[in-house]
Amino acid sequence: MNASFIPVRYAGALYEFALGHGSDYEIYVQVGQLAGLLTNEKSLREMLGNPVLSAKIKKAFLQQAFSSPFHPDLDTFLDMVFLKRRETYLNFIFLRYTDIYRERNNIHFGKLITAVEVNAETEEKLLGVMSKQTHGTLEIEKIVDKELIGGFVLEVDNVRWDASVAGQLKRVRKEFSKIYGKKLS
């Protein structure tokens, strides 16, 4: 239960605090990077949950992993989080903050995954359709993944549009498995 209430309260407080200081965007950028870092780095999450390490060391490690200096407002916020021993919730807090920022600023976040680099024209064409649908700012992270073989995967606000060759092959395999009742290698 706490995993739900705590991040919501802390993230809400951070947003209001940042908004008051006019630093909401800078913090949004840094918090987004930190959330990505924490989601992908298990060791970093484990470090934050370690009861032996002091808050000072944990913050120093986090700073080291992040490389660029924290925004002063974010730094103050992190001090408070460490003081209240809520650092294990940091990932959830950061994600919640990005949600709040996007919601208040009508930003739609997504990912465009392609097998090869796409040129600006194709990208514009793809994203144009989405922009019309979402009626807001579209923030897209571009990823190149050769495993897609061809086509693309577009993710916007938890909705995934899979038009990749790999995805199609996966679905064909599923149909085969359904009919022949076994997992195909």
Binding site: N2, A3, F5, T39, L95, N158, W161, Q168, E175, Y180
Partner: protein, 527 residues
């Protein structure tokens, strides 16, 4: 892959794809796994996920949504935890957790997801998708329990009768014969199956050893009971989530038979282990815990499961309107079906006042209490008649049984009371001596061997001898011999005029006279 697939079949698949079976583009709602802990994942995203919805990971593993929180979704994994990592993408399937049920499942051992685990290959038949969680039928769609479900055990059919649609708890310590009663009841349904009026049986094994389940399957097979039985197994080595869902899968299968106008019996062996599995899942999901660390909704867990046992109204037009019918079952509903439930609860040192036992006792329509002392004395089934009860079963006894065994329970209670006094020594008056003698004989008559259920007509005949004191002159150690000889004589010389008549539900003076004559003749042999 190539060996078993013909070229023509490949073409068929490709044609199907061209016709749009598999579309080129797919829309999915996706989320990201943020945290993985023993069988439970927390997912970021999936804002529109519904409770009990089935989720699918990129490696094909499934999970079921249990917690819908403000900024994340908690789901229980239906497979090994080590196959899921943080950062994995998970998508909605827009389907609630369900099981594909068909008659082809009979004789098979499956897991709670409906996949066979007996090594006999796939279950190919196209079945009906039955949701694991479903609301129980409302009062309008039910009927009172009036039809008996014969267990084949004299002590139960005579004193604690079970009706079709009833929920009768089997409760007792470990090693007191709880599973044996359930298995005997399943074996006793063979007669109905052979007569073309089957009572389909579902045995749900929760948290048991694989070897125990295998031995039960073997027993059922040896007695020809596997043809009408489905075994749902979530073994001790399976995840807590699977153990939690196993009884629901059993109920869903039972509902398939119930709602298509047939009779079914489901045994949940046992619900104490399911409660423990649910406690584990709830604690990992960080739900607040209550008494004995069980979550607050543990009562609701068992009540909603057991409420699904019902006798459905036999008016077709009413049954068709049944609440919460799954889409796939619409148009196939028939009235008059029933689902009887025999939940099993294991007590610790005979403590029926513990949390889970009291809960389930209050939910069910009666309980069969098994006593370790009785078991060790050789009174098997070790039913403690004093605290066993059937709250609706009395209406579901055949008339001859009601007439013959009506006073048996009270007679036995009286006998036990007098027996306690005789332990002080001293002389006994003839009436007391007679009551004790009859009680001892009846106690012996109620002893029954394992996996040897007795047809109801034979039960009535032999219990008549017991309740009327016809065994008064038979020595105690010859009671079993008297029983077998008496029943053999009846079987060979009076099948049509006694046994078949009782079976049809009638009892008259002429029939009683024959029983008394035969009993007298046989008793003289042993006197």
């Amino acid at each position: 892959m190539s060996d078993n697939i013909k070229v023509s079949e490949v073409s068929d698949i490709l044609r199907m794809q061209l016709e749009g079976v598999v579309s080129g583009v797919q829309f999915d709602e996706v989320g990201t796994v943020l945290q993985v802990s023993d069988g439970v994942v927390r997912i970021y995203g999936l804002n529109k996920a519904e409770a009990n919805e089935l989720l699918e990971f990129e490696n094909g593993m499934k999970a079921i949504v249990m917690n819908l929180e403000e900024d994340n979704v908690g789901a229980v994994l239906l497979g090994p935890t080590n196959l899921i990592k943080e950062g994995f993408t998970v998508k909605r399937t827009r389907r609630v957790a369900s099981i594909n049920v068909s008659e082809a499942m009979l004789g098979r051992v499956i897991n709670p997801l409906g996949d066979p685990i007996d090594g006999k290959g796939n279950i190919d038949a196209a079945g009906i998708e039955m949701p694991l969680e479903r609301k129980a039928p409302g009062v309008i769609f039910r009927q009172p329990v009036v039809e008996p479900l014969q267990t084949g055990l004299k002590a139960i059919d005579a004193m604690i009768p079970i009706g079709r649609g009833q929920r009768e708890l089997i409760i007792g310590d470990r090693q007191t014969g709880k599973t044996s009663i359930a298995v005997d009841t399943i074996i006793n349904q063979k007669e109905n199956f052979d007569a073309g009026k089957p009572v389909y049986c579902i045995y749900v094994a929760i948290g048991q050893k694989g070897s125990t389940v295998a031995s039960i399957v073997n027993t059922l097979k040896e007695h020809g009971a596997l043809d009408y039985t489905i075994i749902v197994a979530a073994n001790a080595s399976d995840s807590a989530a699977l153990q939690y869902f196993a009884p629901f899968a059993g109920a869903a299968i039972g509902e398939f038979f119930r709602d298509t106008g047939r009779h079914a019996l489901v045994v949940y062996d046992d619900l104490s282990k399911q409660a423990v599995a649910y406690r584990e899942v709830s604690l990992i999901l960080r739900r607040p815990s209550g008494r004995e660390a069980y979550p607050g909704d543990i009562f609701y867990l068992h009540s909603r499961l057991l409420e699904r046992a019902a006798k459905i109204n036999n008016q077709q037009e009413v049954a068709e309107q049944m609440n919460d019918l799954p889409e796939s079952l619409k148009g196939k509903v028939k009235g008059g079906g029933s689902l009887t439930a025999l939940p099993v609860i294991e007590t610790q040192a005979g403590d029926v006042s513990a949390y889970i036992p009291t809960n389930v006792i209050s939910i069910t329509d009666g309980q069969i209490f098994l006593d370790t002392d009785l078991f060790n004395q050789g009174n098997r089934p070790a039913i403690n008649v004093g605290i066993s009860v059937s709250r609706v079963g009395g209406n579901a006894q055949i008339k001859p049984m009601k007439k013959v065994a009506g006073t048996l329970k009270i007679d036995q209670a009286q006998y036990r009371e007098l027996e306690a006094f005789t332990k002080f020594g001293g002389d006994m008056d003839p009436v007391t001596a007679m009551t004790i003698n009859k009680g001892q004989k009846n106690t012996r008559l109620l002893v029954q061997s394992l996996h040897e259920p007795m047809p109801v007509e034979k039960q009535v005949a032999i219990l008549y001898c017991g309740t009327k004191g016809l065994l008064a002159n038979v020595p105690l150690d010859k009671v079993a011999n008297f029983q077998s000889e008496f029943l053999m004589v009846l079987e060979h010389t009076h099948k049509a005029d006694v046994l078949d008549v009782i079976k049809s539900g009638t009892i008259n003076d002429e029939l009683i006279a024959i029983i008394e004559t035969v009993a007298g003749q046989v008793a003289r042999k042993f006197a």
